[in-house]
Amino acid sequence: MSTDLQTSSVVLGDGEHVEVDRKGRTRAPLSAAERTRLVIAHVLVYIAAAIFVSPIVYAFFSALKPNSEMFTMPPSLVASEVRWTNFLDVFAYGPFLTYIGNSFFVAIAGTLVVLFVSTTAGYAFGRLRWKGRDAVFVLFLATLMVPAEVLVIPMFQVMQWFDWVDTYQALIFPFAFTAFGTFLMRQFFRGIPYELEEAARVDGAGPVRSFVQIILPLAKSAVAVLSVFTFLSFWNSYLWPLIVTVDYNAHGTLPIGLASFSGLTGTRWDLQMAAAIISMVPTTVLVIVLQKHLVKGIAMAGLGGR
């Protein structure tokens, strides 16, 4: 949590007050009007945050209710009993554990494929000289413009030809070759000084060795950012798994599984909310842990628009 507000007043030689924050940066002292404005800003920001987070908080409390008391009048945060067991019953209701396992497997395998493909291709496009390189790269970038909706229909046909419908391959490979990762890695690799690699080359290291031992270790932060974004996109993906999975009980991923608590006999809102809360945990933890890198990554990937 940032504590930038905690500034200390420092008196300079000529008696002028300057505020210094914890990182040692100096700041102009706040005038009375600015202080008032800052207080108002705090109040507004916290109100906005409270409104914003309330659906998730209410969902969490709803996950602790018995299904019969889900929609009582007047609405209440806590029902007649607090059922922590809902979080366990989720796993007994259907193959929820399988959904989670599938999601982890597909997201991790997909991320590994993306990392391998993006770093190798990024190296070829960013640091090796070859004929036709720039033309092929433009083609790569052009594919970024094709929306997934255009691709899913023929992709399903391709999966039928491969006999991959309802397999893990079909969940992992088709969207693991996006140009985004290659572009990101290429940009990053280009920024690494060439002298570093040349020294290794002179010492007799081939490109594979200098790629693995010099370039990759320097690209840790870019690899981290790409991993997170890729993991999240696989973890949250809905349209493609919905299309290519037939036997949801065997190959369904979490987003597919979440929708399965609504059945012909009605909706188990209690379990659905518990499942929704459970599905939010891994990504939320990821974001909290990697908060700083995400902001940096978004700036680094050129997503800041500069």
Binding site: S2, D4, L5, E34, L38, A41, H42, V45, A48, P55, I56, Y58, M70, F71, T72, M73, P75, T120, A121, A124, L128, R129, W130, K131, V136, F140, T143, M145, E149, V150, I153, P154, F156, Q157, F173, P174, F175, A176, T182, P207, N236, Y238, L239, L254, P255, A259, W269, M273, A276, S279, M280, T283, V287, Q291, V295, A299, L303, G304, G305, R306
Partner: protein, 301 residues
């Protein structure tokens, strides 16, 4: 010097071969999973192409059918347009205000940023289900309003107008954190010297934000607007799970229409044609935005 030239040439050749090795996985994947499907998609759009069974060439009939005979196509176009027109300004405006409000002097800004970003990374399905619960006729909003204020609210998801508004509100809630983070990153890169100069010239508060800060991050705003518009035109999960596209077809957007044609009615050719119309729409609108950017986007040169 002269002895160096052939050596260098052969080196380039070697490097070319090595590069091919490095690029092959990406090239093969791109060919199999992007180039082939794109070409195939064009071909399919000119065929009567059922999921199983005989495929017949029908020229541009699929496209003609969409515009003249398909009952849901024009409503889907309208719904996509309405969603985009409501969603993009709301999302971009709100995330810009949030990013600026969460300035360096706000206590706990890091935690607040995470909070606004959580719905972005949460499975969209989970978000939609939470909102679906809130919006039930007996849900929190209706229940609270009726029992505490005696006001009966409309049945949000069953009313054609309200359903779309709720799809938009839910989408803004789930998407606003992403643009907020982009704007935060841009704001943090602002050169302190310019801000200082503006301050000395007497700019402060809202005036400072509107006439100094916003123009300076206008490239980021431009980028975010384009990306948000593209995702808005591709909206699918929210209406699919919140309203099922209903009531009737009141919230069915283009992508859900395409999905239904392809995977419910098994008409892959018609679905492919619909997807190309969506693509054309995206290209045209993006091009228009690039054309208009000179008017309001300031780059430093």
């Amino acid at each position: 010097m002269t002895a160096n030239v052939p050596r260098r040439r052969s080196l380039a050749k070697v490097e070319g071969r090595q590069a091919l090795g490095f690029a092959t996985p990406a090239l093969v994947g791109l060919a199999l999973f992007t180039i082939v499907p794109v070409v195939l998609s064009v071909v399919m759009s000119f065929f009567d192409w059922p999921t199983f069974g005989e495929k017949t060439f029908i020229g541009i009939d699929n496209y003609i059918r969409l515009f003249t005979a398909s009952p849901d196509f024009w409503p889907a176009m309208r719904n996509t347009a309405v969603f985009t027109i409501l969603y993009v300004p709301l999302n971009v405006g709100l995330s810009l205000v949030l990013a600026m409000a969460l300035g360096p002097r706000i206590r706990g800004r890091g935690a607040l940023r995470v909070l606004f970003f959580i719905p972005v990374v949460t499975p969209m399905v989970a978000n939609v289900l939470v909102w679906k619960m809130l919006l039930q006729p007996q849900g929190l909003f209706n229940g609270a309003s009726e029992s505490w204020f005696g006001v009966t609210l409309p049945n949000f998801l069953a009313d054609p107008q309200w359903a779309m508004i709720m799809v938009v509100i839910m989408s803004v809630w789930q998407g606003v954190g992403y643009n907020m983070l982009i704007f935060s990153a841009a704001l943090e890169q602002l050169p302190e010297s310019v801000m200082e100069a503006a301050r000395i010239d007497g700019a402060s508060g809202l005036r400072m934000q509107l006439s100094i800060v916003v123009p300076m991050i206008s490239p980021a705003v431009f980028f975010a607007t384009i990306m948000t518009m593209i995702t808005a035109l591709q909206v699918f999960v929210q209406p699919q799970l919140l309203t099922g596209g209903g009531p009737g077809n009141a919230t069915q957007p283009l992508v859900q229409f395409i999905y239904n044609q392809g995977f419910k009615f098994q008409e892959l050719g018609l679905a492919a044609a619909g997807a190309w119309i969506l693509f054309a729409l995206i290209i045209v609108i993006t091009a228009l935005q690039f054309g208009a950017q000179k008017k309001w986007v300031h780059y430093e040169h």
